[in-house]
Symmetry: C2
């Protein structure tokens, strides 16, 4: 059997370690060059695959590929584009197969989150139906940590470490100023649907008296009065109050607080940010001086503060994906299986994409304290190992030495395709 090439796609929001996965895929494929051909990177994910915009990674040196390990963002480009069912998007599927066929691609590595598992699953099924068999391997990634089956999702551990470290540092700042200045600090974190990232902030303190004294989860309907009383308690007893708020916090009617009627000078609503909404609420009630932060993309690109655990898992799933491909597997995803909590032990297992697609793993209620403002020991036991260890990037002139690939494009063989 002639060996075939492979296509690697990054999909959805990128992370600080998704390129470590890319590195795992490419380095492993190079190691098994007798069994697998060139890895092509889809430029901007599936969009690039459909447009036949393929990056030939064979032009990238071993050294540059290795540098992907410590470079955040998506080195090949990613996209938010979900393939629908074949009945609705037959043209796209046929085009994809045409592209794969034109470049002798036998394996697709689809590196993404929940929606991506679904896309990868569809590709794995449809290709066979269309008469060009392709092994489609999902590779997990998402800071949202909401994939089922896997113990955690590569990208989450680093975001968690960043959030916990940041709130710990900012809280020390607020604590030192509180007597005569800022008494309340509000930090907004990502996670519109699930409170995994918000929960990570709780790792910064050991008890509910430690900062962050309050965490607002999307899972817990926001009750203004109870919240304000808790703020007051914290300021009166600790001198200040440090708060993590998830962008997804909703009131009891399911309305996002971030959409709570903020308008700009032109009358446009949703200037954005739940942190200022929360901060203003506190000011209106108590007049406390406040500060707020929205770390936004900083929290998913903070490679400078990568969790070693997360980094190693990100590489390992890339490596495992190639091995699964070599074994001829299709419609599967390498996942992380926890063997022990402390010290943390894990191994790579294999899950069916059919079981991964479109399932969101929510933060269990048992991970949140009864009062709804903190995390439980059960949550700590789960989350603690995921932020452990440091995996610093190299620095040059005081800044991380991140790589930009050459991205040599493969010559197109097909006509253009509009998407």
């Amino acid at each position: 059997m002639t060996k075939k090439n492979a296509l690697y796609c990054q999909s959805g929001g990128v992370t600080a370690v998704i390129n470590a996965t890319a590195c795992g895929v490419i380095e492993t494929a190079r190691k098994y060059s007798d069994k697998i051909g060139t890895v092509y990177g889809a430029k901007n994910g599936i969009i690039g695959a459909l447009r036949e915009e393929l990056i030939d990674t064979s032009f990238e040196s071993d050294q540059d590929i290795a540098a992907l390990k410590h470079t955040p963002g998506g080195a090949f480009g990613s996209c938010r584009f979900k393939l629908k069912d074949i009945e609705k998007q037959r043209a796209e599927y046929e085009r994809l197969i045409e592209v794969l066929k034109a470049h002798n691609i036998g394996t697709v590595f689809y590196n993404g989150g929940g929606d991506s598992s679904d896309t990868a699953f569809k590709i794995s099924k449809v290709a066979n139906e269309l008469g060009y068999p392709v092994n489609c391997i999902g590779v997990p990634k998402t800071i949202d940590n909401d994939l089922p089956i896997t113990d955690t999702c590569p990208g989450f551990g680093t975001t968690a470490k960043y959030i916990a470290t940041s709130i710990m540092e900012a809280s020390l700042d607020v604590e030192s100023m509180a007597e005569s200045s800022t008494k309340v600090f509000v930090m907004e974190v990502m996670g519109r649907h699930a409170g995994w990232i918000a929960a990570a902030g709780g790792l910064a303190g050991k008890t509910h008296d430690d900062p962050p004294q309050i965490i607002l989860f999307p899972e817990i309907p926001f009750e203004k009065q109870a919240f304000l009383e808790r703020v007051k308690y914290s300021v009166e007893n600790h001198g200040y109050c440090s708060i993590i708020v998830s962008e997804g916090v909703q009131d009891k009617d399911g309305k996002f607080l971030a959409d709570a009627g903020t308008v700009d000078a032109f009358g446009h609503s949703q200037l954005g940010g739940v942190a200022p909404v929360i901060a203003n609420m506190i000011r209106d009630e108590y007049g406390y001086k406040y500060h707020w932060a929205v770390s936004d993309y900083l929290q998913r690109s903070a490679r400078h503060l990568a969790s070693k655990t997360d980094f190693e898992q990100a590489y390992a799933v890339g490596e495992a994906a190639v091995k699964l491909a070599i074994e001829g597997k299709n419609g599967v995803m390498p996942v992380i299986k926890r063997l022990a909590d402390k010290p943390y032990e894990w191994e790579i297992a294999t899950a069916e994409l059919a079981d991964m697609a479109n399932v969101e793993k929510m933060l269990p209620r048992s991970y949140i304290t009864n009062d709804g403002f903190g995390i439980t020991q059960e949550c700590r036991t789960y989350m603690q190992p995921l932020i452990e260890g440091e995996a610093y990037p190299p620095y040059i002139d005081g800044l991380p030495n991140y790589i930009r690939l050459k991205k040599t494009m493969l010559s197109k063989k097909l006509s253009a395709f509009d998407i």
Copy 2:
């Protein structure tokens, strides 16, 4: 001559390395224990001194004092409180002298920025006039980098490194998503009066085509049309646009953009944040998808990403302050003197507080490019060495192992004093 004790005060906004300065003061005083008595820390700065709330650092172990080197925030507490002239606040000055006298304090180390130099200078003069001679030594600190004479201010280099690293990382994220998602990223930074911190963001790129493609300085009156055209150019030519905006950006009439008429649901103005104002402006004009971040206190407490240069200078000014005290100096401040740009060489020099007080060092116009959106080579030559080197804190369980001191309070000898 009997040796006297010393008082150490932290003043104004704290930094990621102000405790390294505290460590420099205390470790050096311990080394010269034949010449200088105990260092007392004023709880929450000058407020604590006036209230006779003094922390006895002799109860802190050598190990805990050493841990201050890698702990952000103000370990003794800081405050925003400026002593006026003696004619206006005679009672406060007399009280301060009374406290110093009661605890046999012969030296005051005043660790702060511009306002603090002024306070330290006044104390140094007034004490003598009131018949209790005190050596008052200013110790520089401020992320704003706006003290005169000194090459840089301890705290700034770390903030600069954090801002440059963060915009570099977030820009890689945006770049990878831009084809189908976010095209504009806006990051707000501190610096209401001067653009030093905003300028630091420019270190992330080498040319004006690298991110951040646009920096908005408080020194350059904001021109909406020119700005929007630059955003468009960047999106059309690079696929995305990454923007640093200083909180202090003003229009040509001197009005802060952050105050540009934003009102919340209750009609209250100034929800805060110039980043969302800028982001909305772009959305209204072009409809580009955007994200924005406000790092706020994170940028001045990011000890996890300290600049080694900054860290070493922070320690050195603390050490030098004690040596100046031992030499019997009064009304002075150890400052940093640049000897060479590359490789960076510096030494500690001594400045008169009279020359430091109430002088703000502004970002030179020659540090900003002609178009007003970037930094010049002259700026890079100055700023580059300040972010160089890494000085990581130790980690435990995946988080920085920051210290909280015991803060054993000295017994009060005086009656209460209202401030």
